[in-house]
């Protein structure tokens, strides 16, 4: 068993284990932290597959930016005292069974799919040089469109996040009720 394979198994176990912890943790903050662990292990998989650019981007974007955003939102909401309302036990069970059977069915269905290999450690398509060349030649139009998507997402987020009260009626600031997030911070 080569070192790569050992690494693969370790990373897989970490990924699945931390993913399970994400959905089982009581407190959302723990979930976020365990999700960050999952993302790191997935980045490790990317490295194994010699997709270095994606590994880096995954850590920066997901583990860095997105998860920090989650954490920030969780901090905004004061969830310490108010724990998540318990979901119906049977519904929980049904959800677990349904998801489990989906896994079962898919694994059973794809068991004999094919035995081709995925290249590990080698191949340089995942390097930033090659990806960058492809991105700025063949895929330059989607790339630019993606920037527009970001812009619109930003505008949308700002509009949704704006306080509704200040939009509806121009109440003097002194008389305004304290904003919920202001109270919680």
């Amino acid at each position: 068993m080569s070192i790569t394979e050992i690494l693969f198994y370790i990373l897989s176990v970490v990924a699945i284990g931390s993913a399970l912890l994400v959905i089982t943790s009581k407190h959302p903050v723990y979930s976020v932290l365990w999700l960050i662990v999952t993302f790191f292990s997935i980045s490790g998989h990317y490295l194994l597959l010699n997709a270095q650019f994606l590994a880096v981007v995954n850590i920066i974007v997901y583990a860095g930016a997105i998860m920090v955003l989650f954490l920030y939102v969780l901090m905004l909401m004061d969830l310490r005292k108010e724990s998540e309302p318990a979901k119906n036990k049977w519904l929980k069970l049904a959800g677990a069974v349904a998801g489990g059977s989906l896994l079962l069915v898919l694994v059973a269905g794809l068991r004999t799919a094919d035995q081709r290999m995925a290249q590990l450690n080698e191949g340089n398509i995942g390097l930033i040089e090659n990806l960058g060349r492809a991105l700025f030649t063949d895929y330059v139009v989607p790339f630019e469109i993606a920037s527009i998507l970001f812009l619109s997402a930003m505008v949308g987020a700002v509009i949704i996040g704006k306080s509704e009260k200040s939009k509806k009626q121009a109440v003097p600031i002194a008389q305004q009720q304290p904003e919920p997030e202001a109270a919680s911070v």
Partner: protein, 626 residues
């Protein structure tokens, strides 16, 4: 020439459009002028065609009307001898009726007046289309148009509910016949794949039809003809059609609508001459209609009703002629009948005009002095319809009776009796109306006056035509080189081999007809010279009540149909279809109510269902595909 011919129907149509669209703003004089002028122009064109002899059997195609697969129906006119003759009758008599109408309808409101002329023009247009079409489909357009216009004109005074009912009756009765016509056309299309006359009536095509086809087609066509031409069993609409203004009755009964059936059968003579069974049926129905209507006419007291039943009776004559294969005689009688029946109707209109709308002859009498022109022309019309030589009715009726005599002695006897009855009831009408003393109110007596020139002039013209109109068909018996009409129509209607009748027999028949007519007139004269109330006998009551045919139809057809309708309404519509429809609605409603919990807005349950269905699909895809 082609464009000129297209103008014949187009002009009345333009008149219809102008009068119909601008009826609110057109003064009466202009509306009447447009209405009459367009028909006059058509008449002039028709006359040109007749005089120049530019008619031919070649269809003039204007555009493709229907193109469906191999079936091509062109919009084409065919102006041959038969059509030319009908064109002259329709536009000529139609024009006189238009002129007459300008005076007769003068008291109508302005927009109603223009509406009236619009309908009249549309009527003439439809009738022209009917006779000019070069195939059955164009004829059918005209056929339907005539039915529609008769409905509009009979129900012209639509404020009166009875009149609108009469219009409805005419429309429904016509529709029954139209269905037969339509089915016959479909049958022809199915068998021959064409509807053009010059293709259908070729020997090669006729040979393709089996005996059943020919009998079926001709019977269906005849059903159509009974509807339009008011034969048993569909004749009851025509007397009720008297609800319309009197000139309309003249137009419907004399020049146009009722002759459509005759025209159609004469046009299809190639087909009908091969169908012996149908011919027998036509002859019997024609004779029966003639006799039945004549007996009813004996006891009617409404001046227009008498004339209406007289029309039915004369149409019966024509069908008798068609059944016996005497197509020329039938067309001849159409022509002479158009003259004297238009004359009689317009004359009755003049009388009604004079006595302020009174139609019951029991309240007339002694009008001879007040209405000299009307009386004289009416008298000529009565003589013509009674068949007194040498007026037009004599020749045409004689031709029919001669053919009937050769065909079947019994039918001839019926025709002869009817001829006597015709003379009797017409002169009864004449004497009661014009002789004796006036029996109306004092006010009406004061009001009595001869009609204006616009009304008397058509009467005079028609009276002259009634006198001389018969000479086109003088038989060989009288004049060497007679039978001009037969020769004229010979390209369309193949002349018969000639009737093998001794000249002595012919003379006897003529003497018999004339003798009976004269005798009937004399009886009528002595009986009705001075009017007195008469107690009707049992048979008289039967005649007076029109053989109770309306009542029979009412109880045998209308009431069962109504009952069936009520039954269907209750059991099929309400508890069947309605229940089904409502049931579907209720089921969906119930189902929706039950399914509503699924649409809970709970995202979790949506996702759960989504996952479950995904599992199901994957199971189907991976494991159950084999």
């Amino acid at each position: 020439m082609k464009n000129l011919i297209a103008l014949i129907p187009l002009l009345p149509f333009i008149g219809f459009l102008i009068n119909g669209l601008f009826r609110k703003s057109l003064p009466k004089g202009v509306a009447g002028f447009i209405g009459s002028g367009t028909v006059l122009a058509s008449f002039v064109i028709s006359l040109t065609i007749f005089l120049q002899g530019t008619y031919s059997a070649t269809p003039l195609q204007y555009f493709t009307f229907i193109s469906a697969g191999s079936l091509q129906i062109p919009f084409a006119f065919q102006v041959d001898q038969l059509t030319t003759l009908f064109l002259l009758i329709i536009t000529g008599v139609g024009f006189l009726i238009h002129v007459y109408s300008t005076a007769y309808m003068h008291e109508e409101r302005q927009d109603h007046f223009a509406r009236y002329f619009a309908y009249l023009n549309l009527f003439v247009f439809s009738m022209l289309l009917l006779v000019m079409g070069a195939n059955f489909v164009i004829m059918f357009i005209g056929w339907e148009g005539v039915g529609l216009c008769s409905y509009l004109l009979i129900g012209y005074w639509f404020e009166n509910v009875d009149y609108t009912k009469a219009a409805k009756k005419a429309f429904v009765m016509n529709r029954i016949g139209d269905l037969g016509f339509l089915l016959a056309v479909f049958w022809i299309i199915a068998k021959l794949g064409t509807v053009s006359y010059n293709e259908v009536f070729t020997a090669a095509n006729l040979a393709k039809l089996t005996a059943t086809d020919i009998t079926g087609i001709t019977l269906l066509l005849f059903l159509g003809a009974t509807g339009k031409s008011a034969q048993i069993p569909l004749y009851t609409w025509l007397p009720d059609a008297m609800a319309g203004p009197t000139p309309v009755s003249a137009l419907i009964h004399a020049a146009t609508m009722v002759t459509a059936g005759i025209y159609m059968i004469a046009r299809s003579n190639a087909l009908f001459s091969m169908a012996a069974t149908t011919n027998t049926i036509i002859a019997i129905i024609g004779a029966a209609t003639a006799l039945l209507a004549a007996t009813i006419a004996l006891r009617q007291n409404d001046i227009k009703k008498v004339l209406a039943y007289s029309t039915v009776s004369q149409l019966g004559y024509m069908f008798l002629a068609l059944g016996t294969g005497a197509y020329v005689a039938a067309v001849f009688h159409v022509m002479t009948h158009a003259f004297f029946k238009a004359l009689l109707f317009l004359g009755s209109g003049s009388v009604i005009h004079a006595v302020s709308g009174q139609q019951d002859i029991r309240y007339m009498g002694g009008l001879r002095k007040a209405l000299p022109v009307t009386y004289l022309t009416f008298f000529i019309g009565c003589l013509a319809i009674a068949g007194i030589p040498p007026l037009s009715g004599f020749f045409s009726k004689d031709a029919i009776l001669l053919n009937a005599f050769v065909y079947d002695k019994f039918l001839y006897a019926i025709g002869l009796i009817t001829a006597g009855l015709t003379a009797f009831y017409m002169f009864r009408l004449l004497f009661i109306t014009f002789n004796g003393s006036f029996r109306g109110t004092e006010e009406q007596r004061h009001h009595l006056h001869e009609s204006p020139i616009a009304m008397t002039l058509p009467l005079i013209v028609l009276a002259i035509l009634s006198v001389v109109g018969g000479f086109v068909g003088v038989p060989e018996l009288f004049v060497q080189g007679g039978e001009k009409l037969t020769a004229f129509l010979s390209p369309v209607i193949k002349p018969a081999d000639g009737l093998h009748v001794e000249h002595s027999t012919e003379w006897i028949l003529i003497a018999l007809t004339t003798g009976i007519a004269v005798a009937a007139i004399l009886i009528a004269f002595f009986r009705y010279r001075t009017y007195k109330e008469e107690q009707p006998s049992a048979i008289g009551r039967l005649f007076e009540n029109k053989w109770y045919v309306d009542e029979l139809y009412n109880s045998a057809i209308v009431k069962p149909l109504n009952a069936l309708g009520a039954f269907a309404n209750t059991f099929i519509e309400r508890s069947g279809i309605d229940a089904l429809v409502n049931g579907v609605g209720k089921l969906v409603n119930y189902g929706g109510r039950q399914m509503r919990w699924l649409q809970s807005g709970q995202i979790g349950s949506y996702v759960l269902l989504m996952v479950v269905s995904m599992v199901v699909f994957f199971v189907l895809q991976f494991f159950l595909r084999k």
